[in-house]
Symmetry: C2
Subunit: 329 residues, 2 copies
Amino acid sequence: MAKSTVFFKNKPRICSTFTIAGPKEGNSLFGKYIHEILKDDRFDEDTFEKAECKMLSYCIEQTIKSANKKQTDINALISGDLLNQIISASFAARNFDFPYIGVYNACSTFSEALSLSAVLVDGGYMKNVVAATGSHFATAERQYRYPLELGSTRPPQSQWTVTGAGGALITDKGSYPKIISATFGKVVDFGITDANNMGAAMAPACCDTLLTLLKETDTSPKDYDLILTGDLGALGSRLMKKLAKERGVNIDNHCDCGEMIYNLKEEEYQGGSGAGCSAVVFSSYIYKKLMKKEIKRMILLATGALLSSLSSQQGESIPGISHAVVVEA
Amino acid sequence: MAKSTVFFKNKPRICSTFTIAGPKEGNSLFGKYIHEILKDDRFDEDTFEKAECKMLSYCIEQTIKSANKKQTDINALISGDLLNQIISASFAARNFDFPYIGVYNACSTFSEALSLSAVLVDGGYMKNVVAATGSHFATAERQYRYPLELGSTRPPQSQWTVTGAGGALITDKGSYPKIISATFGKVVDFGITDANNMGAAMAPACCDTLLTLLKETDTSPKDYDLILTGDLGALGSRLMKKLAKERGVNIDNHCDCGEMIYNLKEEEYQGGSGAGCSAVVFSSYIYKKLMKKEIKRMILLATGALLSSLSSQQGESIPGISHAVVVEA
């Protein structure tokens, strides 16, 4: 038995996706692939936290609707976000009359949720499970760094938390992209302490999960049309490729959701991040490519940095984690 | 197909448990059942947060050791806690060379983790999964209420966060207590806004999950030797029984982990709470009773209140959630 990889005999399907994002994400080159763009990142709410929750809730609702399913068809929602006590997910779940399984692995929560959804559907335990995650720039800045009102400058190694949410409905049959396997990641800590340099904190974990996946599935990077990491950003992506190369694995077919989502010419520096980043990129552009069979087989490796404001204040380093799913058209 | 309940054909086993708790928990009547009692709730660390993480880490290690298994036998850790970004679980996972799946549903995280572990083992995806959760009075007070140094008084409807951690190793065979089914709970909100009255916030969700479980498993309370709720406390337990009675279900064989863990004569008021509460009570006293077959069939319904300091500040109510597992000796 592979230690970290679980294989899905019944190949659970991703039968629908939905994405929603803020105006900044909408204005990037990537914007045209996102299902719905907000004109105002407050989403008619009086706080950014409520806007984040509303985005996620709306995204869950539309994911179900896009699949032509009813809310009564859904067995469970697996969701998480970056806010303390994952309140966006928990309060979004309040709007639905089906079970809620709250998960958290920072920005790798989307592939964690996809993996668990696939397990529940593949094993015949459930028929329809929604996996959804989101994040919001303004809430993340306030919680992890400084209030926006302070006007702090950001260092060049930093990333920009994506204002957006993405959802996917995992079901047991139909002609849709299939989840073939999931590789659950270990916590890997290379001792990074700069909370502005998430890419460096996450790259080692991402590399570890990728190498584990390749070994346990007996494949090489060439067997995939795309190796898509979550939000390593420009610097983190280069670090990850370098780490892999040092271990004898060359990855040429790699893209990073964080690098793709913005135009990379302004204040985002290394690119996007956040639990919404990989969720939005995968569930929009990438999912469409899978549906058209322009991508036939790919790995999604969402990546997370495990820290809190408090852990950094107490001098802790920032360990990373990455969970991977293999998806086939 | 039952909507919320998943049934386990292969009946995953709980082959070992371990619990650790603070001096206050050790001094209660319940203390003698806990595997290890700390003399100092700092656990030789310089912060309470680090002590909480160390308890959880130690508990995971000892759970594996008690089963006479090696760390290399373990496929995954499913864990969570009450701290922002579940840092206790994430930093504890750093000490182990196996995958980590972070989960969060407040104080219902223990039964959530048990349920997902049972799914992974029952489906043949994994052989050995550790489910573990913990909490710490001092860290919870500081994060959710006030720093201890402030000496705030606590209102009579409040509960006392358990300083402790509990772990269970779920495996695929052997003569051990078996997990028969898991019922995933919905988020239920009765509009409670008093962050000191968690029992009232959680009771409706607990009642909802119990009634769903009874319906979907076609059983009645009499079919169980024990219906064990997580941390409703004295008041919450009475509310839950009242709500169930109003819906035509009488529960006489009910105990609450929060009511059991302290002596209920001092400042704990309604009893214990926290992600460590049900984990410690179930994994010590109750597990021993199951092993001796003094309990033959029971329901564990850990209960969680979904809030953050911020959600309360922004005027949100406190929804509850409860996940249930049925365990047979």
